[in-house]
Symmetry: D2
Subunit: 154 residues, 4 copies
């Protein structure tokens, strides 16, 4: 059942739950900083799945037609520590879209406490690792579920 | 809401869903072997949560009273590769229980395909890292949801 | 022998070698983006060790006297993919120092190819997780091995 | 310089150093159990490199000729906790070799303290994921640096 996406869109953001397990923590008894990037990547994968993109499918096939996403840059702020057993929510919004990139704004919350915040740029690549134009239907679908902020402002 | 456990008990086993994300795979395009241990640990944490044990709570407090679990040994077999986007199920059963240990049998399935299988012994430790007797109510609760096989046989 | 630091200071930067293993890669056959943060953290730990700070020691003891570092923010750029078996070098420089923080500039290279680049702010915390002033001798030692750029400019 | 292997063979075992970093630990303030498998895999990769096998090279190329190793099974015992900043040594010996498999005995030590012990079976696969016969020169090379115990006994 790989088509069933986890998380839901509500009030303009995709909301993805993450439980903190031992594997996510470190000896300082908080979540290890790099692991927030893992949580955010899980959420983006689910957003793409909602848009009809399953990367395990789209990355295979003829290299020029293949489609995958790679992180190009990110800026992260760590606001409060998360700990073992915490139930977190990753909130994902679309802040900008170009021909070959998407900028996501992603915030992690534990109830009313902001844990971490990031802007992440992903670029669309073909099977040879070259940037490629994103399919129009994917962008249209993304904009329908997570309206692009910069477009909304224009 | 840390009390809400993920997974469910059905037909004698605890069933815990795991989606395979990029972080779980490696360049051989399958799940990296050590990551199956992470999946199994998530499932055991949820079994303990169903038994009323939240380790973030039980490990804090007075060291002699504190209670946590550590893996003592495990035997793993890797049966078939899992891949990106796979939706797996970790099935956990109790195969033996002693004063200070629990032996779990854990199998990972993708639909009808067996992916990995393990027997994992966890030991109950106090806050000083010494083995300690498990509370009777925990064992009773565990036996009520995942009847201990070796007891059942006796 | 925990006092033996890995890496060396040369031409104004700390240089720390990292071999890419299966655990570091993902199904796209490159290093998973979050893992560059792991590589950079290893290098910063070695820089602190060169400065005489062993966090396993300094984080224990009386909470107000304890000293550890946590990542407060980071900005990362991914410039070229690294792959299995690559031998990388993490180059760490000090770009700014405050009473309770250090800004590191960290670049990852494979030979002449720039792989990733980051600015990472770490804050000094006591045993209760409160920001605390860094010891003068640590800053003096850091400035002696990796002269602070912003100071050098002034 | 991907051909430079880390670690050395001494007194019948390959010895590979591992420093424990934050990423390796968990909130119980010890190394997370699954991470010992990562340490052991790094050591096996270096043993194969000493035998002239670079998996990033050998896994590419024509699928029937390609060669890679996958873990088939392992049995692990956790003997004592390792902690942040520990300098560990992974000792690898060859306990058995077949046409398409190698059994490694791997022990992790911190000075005189045994931390973890494992027997790991890896199988040799071609580029289609099918078991394949290992090249004779690889086995000869392996036996010359880490003499196979079961052969030695015969």
């Amino acid at each position: 059942m790989p088509e069933a996406a986890t998380g839901k869109v509500e009030r303009g953001a995709h909301r993805y739950p993450v439980r903190v397990y031992f594997e996510d923590t470190d000896t300082a008894q908080m979540v290890y900083h790099a692991n927030y990037l893992r949580f955010m990547e899980r959420a983006r994968t689910e957003v793409l799945r909602l848009c009809g993109v399953s990367q395990s499918v789209s990355m295979s096939g003829e290299p020029r037609e293949a489609l995958g996403y790679a992180v190009k840059s990110c800026a992260l702020e760590f606001l409060a520590p998360a700990r073992l057993d915490d139930l977190l929510e990753v909130r994902t919004e679309t802040s900008d879209v170009g021909a070959a990139f998407i900028d996501f704004r992603q915030d992690i919350w534990r109830g009313d406490t902001a844990i971490a915040s990031a802007v992440v740029r992903v670029v669309c690549l073909d099977g040879r690792g070259k940037p490629r134009r994103q399919p129009a239907h994917l962008i249209a679908r993304l904009d329908s579920i997570l309206p692009v902020r910069s477009l909304a402002k224009a």
